[in-house]
């Protein structure tokens, strides 16, 4: 009774999910925002944008252009008031010579920048972009590691059961008995060395437990399903059942986990960098920006805080909305 339709009109899971996603306007907006951030990331990583974030182009604490320069910064940007000569200074002649050299090459510092400057005169806008690159890369790569490990362990554990399952479960209980933040801090304390790779490894190696539990439960559920029994009756091997049969039915769970974890890890990296356990000194991330912003606020300089907070909020909101919409599109339930 079904109508005869075009041969290749048939839609699999991903096509159907994409169609559902397309209908959701908020999800599409979120996707656009995330895509924009990713484009920015690529531009930054390849050095096309914000490569010169370390240049001190503004005066210290230069306010944003839309606020206008304050008297103090204007004065600092302009010609520095000449220091009165000190006849007793033995180095006076040498300093004058050096100043002559420097003046030729130093560019004038600006009184205002698009979104202000920090304590050393770095452009906040460029810092935000660069910081975003660090935070997002850490978040995404760590999420990939965590979901990769968790999925592999969960699949093996859920499918084979028995002693293999007991072993992995033991690992799981050991890791989850220690609250993750404590775990992260402990490893940070012990490793004594900072770096983006370190954070990625710490977050990834401690974050596999969430995906593990979910994927394991999914594998255990699917293993008992009739299509797997049918595959068994046909004569499929264990590996074939695990990867060719069950995995395509479970991959959407892994994908949703990836997006959820990425969000969580971006937030975690920010906190870690804020505390000083994250990125090393030369690298900027949103966390290090918030760290500096803390003291700046007392001086009334709010722009670094706002830039980092807003950029992060926008990305995390968009990513979270996307993750939710993705989950609903892949596994629609009656609301």
């Amino acid at each position: 009774m079904s109508a005869i339709v075009n041969e290749h009109d048939s839609a699999g899971l991903w096509t159907l999910a994409w169609r559902r996603l397309r209908e959701d306007r908020i999800a599409m907006a979120a996707l656009a925002v995330v895509a924009a951030f990713l484009v920015m990331l690529i531009l930054s990583a390849t050095g096309l944008v914000a490569a010169d974030w370390e240049d001190e182009v503004g005066v210290n604490y230069a306010p944003p252009t839309f606020v206008g320069a304050s008297a103090a910064t204007l004065a600092a940007a302009g010609e520095a008031a000449p220091v009165p000569d000190n006849p007793f200074d033995p180095l006076a002649a040498d300093i004058r010579a050096l100043q002559g050299q420097g003046a030729a090459t130093a560019a004038p510092r600006r009184a205002t920048l698009p979104f202000g400057a920090d304590k050393w005169g770095h452009d906040i806008l460029r810092k935000t972009i660069r910081g975003g690159e660090t935070s997002i890369i850490v978040g995404l790569v760590a999420a990939l590691v965590a979901v990769g490990l968790g999925t592999l362990f969960g699949a093996i554990s859920g499918f084979f059961g028995g002693i293999v399952d007991d072993l992995f479960n033991w690992f799981y209980s050991v890791f989850t008995s220690i609250p993750s933040i404590l775990m992260i801090l402990t490893v940070a304390a012990v490793l004594q060395q900072k770096g983006v790779l370190t954070i990625v490894l710490i977050l990834g190696l401690t974050g596999w437990t969430g995906p593990y539990r979910l994927i394991r439960a999914e594998y255990m559920r699917h293993k008992a399903r009739e299509y797997v029994l049918a595959a068994d009756a046909i004569g499929a091997s264990s590996w074939r059942k695990m990867f060719a049969h069950i995995f395509p039915n479970v991959s959407h769970v892994a994908l949703v986990q990836l997006s959820i974890l990425a969000v969580g890890f971006i937030k975690a990296e920010v906190i870690l960098s804020f505390l000083g356990f994250g990125v090393p000194v030369g690298v900027v991330s949103w966390g290090s920006m918030l760290n500096e912003a803390q003291n700046e606020l007392l001086l009334g300089k709010w722009w670094q805080l706002t830039a980092a907070a807003v950029a992060m909020a926008v990305l995390v909101t968009a990513f979270s909305l996307l993750a939710d919409a993705l989950r609903d599109a892949l596994d629609p339930k009656v609301k």
Partner: protein, 566 residues
């Protein structure tokens, strides 16, 4: 001429599926339920029968449902559809009550049985706690719950399915309703329990002089209890009338089809009639009958001896308790014939089938196939035998991998067993099989979710046929299908047996279907074989008391039992 208790006029219900599509579930139906009578509303899935009853009670989801305001549902003169919320709620649970199909999930698991029944009493009748408890005890006794004093404080999970349904009935009857709506109340229950519940409903109805609207997909079930029958299909009413006339002289083709698509107990036509036959008017008046039974010179293809399967459950601190699912089963399957295995839930029949295919490892026993004990072989040695004994599962929605196209599903076994020289040959074979099972060639590229239940079972059959098996285990393969679709699949299975000489082990709880398709029948209860013998002989003269109870629970048509109707 008594006034109608419930009068439904031009009821029209549509559902919003997504932003663009609406689905008309009920297309303007009108019927009446008189006082002090049982009306059966019969239809297959998608007929709109449940939706209509839920609309009467106001239980359809408000956001996605639209009920045409031109229609009305008059209960005792008042239009229920257009009542304000509060007044309608006062009516429901008191004057109109409803019981549902799945008693386990329909009862709140965290409250005691007594609390839930008492809730209606306190709310609608204004009783205090003590009065409610006394009345609840009386009700539990009335519905046949043994030891009401203990059960009143029990939780639903501590009761059997039949007892849970009795509790639901007690809850529905607590406030002396004038109308009881029963939505498939026995579908989820074993056939012996079903009989008890039906008798209980009939007795209660008579005693309280209330009306019952009994909704079911099984036309054969209502012969014993209904006064009037309404037949629905695709949201419309096909026929209404007194029950005896419906059974003896149905006017509508669809009604006729519903009546006759079920395998009859007293005949065995060569082929079951399907809906298409009736709708097209092409029905054989005197169909050729099929003879069944094992012949003495039959070749025995499978000889099972003392099959045993146990599961071990954690018990106490370190111990394990043995649960014997299959205790000691022996039988012989003749080539080209069908062995029917019948039993209620928990009888172990499905476990036995799975164990034969080595999907469970047998605890003891042997299964001799061409002289080799299949159960004793190592996994590797058993592999080549897999293609020769196959299985079709019950749930058509779970037995096909949702991420594979039909083509991939059919090609996989051929690739695994090296059937066909190359992929091109395999594709051709798959296409031929699709045609053989009655599916269009485009099905090859489709995904399972685009097919109906009956079509998916055909795909599952085609998958088995790719390996040209000799033995096919049908584990409740038609139980989840509508009656009309069931007939089609049974016919297909029979054709394949006639053509290829396949031997079937047909497992089911449906006694009529088993009798129709089997040459020999084996009755199982709690893991043991209770009786085994020739199909016709066993149904005519059952020897074991359990078999007799089982066969006695089959619902009869109205002509047979005049007295028990009320």
């Amino acid at each position: 001429m008594m006034a109608a208790l419930l009068e439904v006029r031009d009821l029209r219900i549509a559902f919003r599926v997504d932003k663009r599509t609406t689905f008309e579930a009920v297309k303007g139906i009108s019927f009446t339920v008189p006082q002090d009578a049982t009306v059966a509303l019969v239809g297959e899935s998608g007929s709109g029968k449940s939706v209509s009853s839920l609309a009467i009670m106001g239980l359809l989801p408000k956001g996605t449902t639209s009920i045409d305001p031109a229609g009305s549902v008059l209960f005792d003169g008042r239009d229920v559809l257009h009542l304000p919320e509060a007044e309608r709620r006062a009516l429901c649970g008191r004057d109109i009550a409803m019981i549902f199909q799945e008693p386990m999930s329909s009862l709140n698991p965290v409250f005691t049985v007594g609390y839930q029944i008492g809730e209606v009493l306190r709310r609608h009748m204004g009783m205090n706690r003590r009065e409610a408890r006394a009345r609840t005890l009386a009700l539990l006794d009335e519905v046949g719950i043994p030891d009401p004093q203990a059960k009143i404080d029990a939780y639903p999970s501590q009761m059997s399915g039949g007892q849970q349904q009795r509790v639901m009935i007690a809850m529905a009857l607590a406030c002396e309703p004038k109308l009881l709506i029963a939505d498939e109340p026995t579908t989820a229950l074993d056939v012996t329990i079903q009989k008890q519940i039906m008798a209980l409903l009939a007795a209660l109805r008579r005693k309280r002089r209330m009306s019952v609207l009994f909704i079911t997909h099984d036309l054969g079930l209502v012969g014993e209890i209904a006064d009037e029958v309404i037949v629905m299909r695709h949201g419309e009413i096909r026929e209404t009338g007194p029950v005896r006339r419906i059974f003896s002289e149905p006017q509508d083709n669809y009604t006729r089809a519903l009546l006759h698509c079920r395998p009859p107990l007293d005949a065995r036509p060569w082929r079951l009639p399907v809906i298409a036959d009736y709708m097209g008017g092409q029905v054989e008046a005197n169909p050729r009958q099929r003879e069944r039974g094992y012949a003495p010179d039959d070749d025995i293809v499978l000889d099972v001896r003392n099959l045993k399967k146990s599961f071990w459950v954690n018990d106490g601190l370190f111990g394990k308790r043995e649960f014997q699912a299959v205790k000691d089963v022996s039988f012989r399957l003749a080539r080209g014939k069908t062995l029917g295995v019948v039993g209620e839930s928990g009888s172990g029949k499905s476990t036995m089938g799975l164990t034969l295919l080595r999907l469970h490892e047998a605890t003891a026993g042997s299964a001799l196939f061409e002289g080799t004990d299949l159960l004793a072989l190592s996994k590797r040695d058993y592999h080549p035998y897999k293609r020769r004994i196959q299985i079709i599962f019950q749930n058509p929605y779970a037995s096909l991998n949702p991420r594979f196209t039909v083509g991939q599903i059919l090609l996989e076994p051929m690739r695994l067993h090296g059937i066909g020289a190359d992929d091109r040959e395999r594709v051709a074979l798959a296409q031929a099989l699709l045609e053989r099972v009655g599916l269009p060639p485009v099905a090859y590229h489709r995904y399972p979710h685009e097919f109906s239940g009956g079509q998916r079972q055909r795909i599952a059959i085609a998958r088995c046929l790719t390996m040209k098996p000799e033995i096919l285990v049908c584990d409740e393969s038609v139980s989840a299908l509508d009656v009309s679709v069931q007939a089609q699949v049974l016919n297909l299975l029979q054709e394949l047996q006639d053509e290829y000489g396949l031997s079937y082990i047909f497992i089911s709880h449906d006694l009529a279907v088993v009798k129709y398709i089997s040459d020999q029948v084996m009755v199982m209860n709690k893991g043991e074989v209770v009786e085994i013998g020739d199909a016709d002989e066993l149904y005519r003269n059952p020897r074991h008391p359990y078999t007799r109870t089982l066969l006695g629970a089959i619902p009869r048509s109205p002509d047979v039992n005049v007295e028990s109707r009320c």
